[in-house]
């Protein structure tokens, strides 16, 4: 079975490296971007089964990227990570099409169980 591909968009280098290494160690392929512009290039050129998005990025926010992801990869579930624990923000990103929003910090074993669940639910992301 082909390795599942995760697109990770996060401007904090430590978080990006940590999540990337963790999921690669669990057999995933991870394509990482540090801002919206790099994320858009990845979306246009590559395939992805699932997207993990930081809400606040240096050149935009998650809702804009969610719309683009839904257009290019309609089957890929989207997880939004945010440093703002806000019910309004969670409702906003879910209304835009994100499957779930999580408040940082998140235990990566928990994040992985959500990733596994979402990929199991929608096996054909690409």
């Amino acid at each position: 079975m082909a390795r599942r591909r995760i697109m990770l968009v996060e401007d904090n280098e430590g978080i990006r490296v940590g999540i990337g290494m963790y999921f690669e160690a669990h057999g995933f392929e991870v394509a990482a971007a540090g801002d919206c512009a790099a994320a858009l290039r990845l979306l246009e050129t590559g395939s992805t089964d699932l997207v993990i998005l930081d809400y606040s990025l240096p050149d935009g926010t998650a809702p804009g990227l969610i719309a683009r992801t839904r257009a290019t990869h309609p089957g890929a579930p989207i997880i939004v990570l945010t440093a703002y624990p806000s019910a309004a923000l969670a409702a906003e990103v879910r209304a835009r099409g994100a499957a779930v929003s999580l408040v940082k910090p998140v235990e990566l074993s928990y994040l992985r169980s959500i990733v596994d669940y979402l990929l199991h639910k929608s096996p054909a992301g690409r």
Binding site: N12, G14, G18, Y22, A25, A83, V103, K104, P105
Partner: protein, 362 residues
């Protein structure tokens, strides 16, 4: 009081004077602050009904007695002091005294033509408490905004550390090092502190809805049951009544109080949580008391248990009870800490009740 009729006989004049005197006495007695008049020799000339209810006894027990015979506690000690000052310089004097019970007093002074001075005093404890609560609320609001901003900046680096630790733990040989559990413990503590600080500084939610305290207590108990079972603790819970609440915040109150009781109880101990409706106040007051049979609070700890970061428990953040106090005050209530006569700590919460509780013991 005024009377516009021109008196045309001494009988009429006497009637007018008598009526004016009655009006003066009724006014004097109707005042809910205590009023006392004294002559320049420091002898009591009049006391009103409020003053008498505080002094006890009959009017004649206190009239024409020297002020020095008044009781030595507040507010009388301060009444004597103000009159003495007025006798010394003739001027008016005012003061505010007391800590647990706060009194505001004023003495008119004597002046060149006055043959007596008037002293009034009133218990302003509630007003002072309210004023302190408003100041605390304003400070908390500013702190809440600051904390929310800081929390965002802390969440990202904290998540970077935990994510890198999670990733590092998967590398060969790392699990055998002692550093990983130590680092995780410290990071968990930092995270707990951040979450508690945020909880402490969370902005006030003005949209409170009626909720049953029994349900909140039951939910808290379900969450804490594993911790309680581990210590073989018995919980005796008898809570009823409803108050206007932010349910999530109220759950935090019960979680913190029950967790505190668990932490301080001996193994196999008993924790009691019960409610009581007090109907002598309006609105009625719903009192919740939680008691453990641990060592209780020491005399040194008692005045400081609601101070943020005051803790002697290993690993504690010292924010558990301050969070309780903050949330309870947001709900228009109060919280006090003390020790039970038979031992153990008792925390008492008092909320304005919105309806009668069923089986509560009034």
């Amino acid at each position: 009081m005024s009377d516009n009729r021109e008196p045309n006989s001494s009988a009429q004049l006497l009637e007018i004077v008598e009526r004016a005197a009655q009006a003066w006495r009724r006014t004097f007695d109707a005042m809910d602050c205590l009023v006392l008049t004294a002559d320049p020799d420091g002898v009591v000339q009049r006391v009103n009904r409020t003053a008498l209810s505080l002094l006890g006894g009959r009017f004649e027990d206190w009239l024409y007695r020297p002020l020095s015979e008044l009781p030595d506690q507040l507010p009388w000690s301060e009444v004597k002091k103000l009159v003495d000052e007025a006798r010394a310089d003739g001027s008016p004097h005012r003061s505010q005294v007391g800590t647990d019970r706060v009194w505001e007093l004023s003495c008119t002074g004597f002046g060149p033509n006055n043959d007596f001075c008037v002293v009034w005093a009133r218990d302003i404890t509630e007003t002072v408490e309210l004023h302190r609560a408003v100041i605390r609320s304003q400070a908390m609001s500013a702190m809440g905004q600051l904390l929310a901003g800081v929390a965002h900046e802390v969440r990202n680096p904290l998540f970077a550390i935990t994510a890198l630790l999670d990733a590092w733990a998967l590398q060969p040989g790392v699990q055998e090092t002692p550093f990983l559990p130590m680092l995780r413990k410290e990071v968990t503590r930092m995270r707990q502190l951040m979450e508690e600080l945020l909880e402490y500084g969370r902005p006030y939610n003005p949209e409170l809805v009626a909720g049953e305290l029994r349900d909140v207590a039951a939910e808290a108990m379900t969450i804490l049951k594993p911790a309680a079972d581990e210590r073989r603790l018995t919980f005796q819970i008898d809570v009823s009544g409803s108050v206007k609440m932010d349910r999530v915040r109220m759950l935090r109150v019960f979680l913190n109080l029950l967790q505190n009781a668990i932490d301080h109880s001996p193994d196999g101990g008993l924790v009691e949580l019960e409610s009581r409706l007090q109907t002598d106040a309006h609105p009625h007051v719903l009192e919740i008391a939680i008691r453990d049979n641990g060592p209780g609070f020491t005399g040194e700890d008692l005045p400081r248990v609601f101070d943020p970061f005051y803790t002697k428990r290993q690993g504690g953040t010292g924010l558990g009870l301050p969070i309780v106090q903050r949330i309870v005050e947001e709900h228009g209530g109060t919280v006090t800490a003390g020790n039970h006569a038979d031992g153990g700590a008792v925390l008492r919460l008092r909320f304005p009740a919105i309806e009668a509780v069923g089986p509560a013991r009034a």
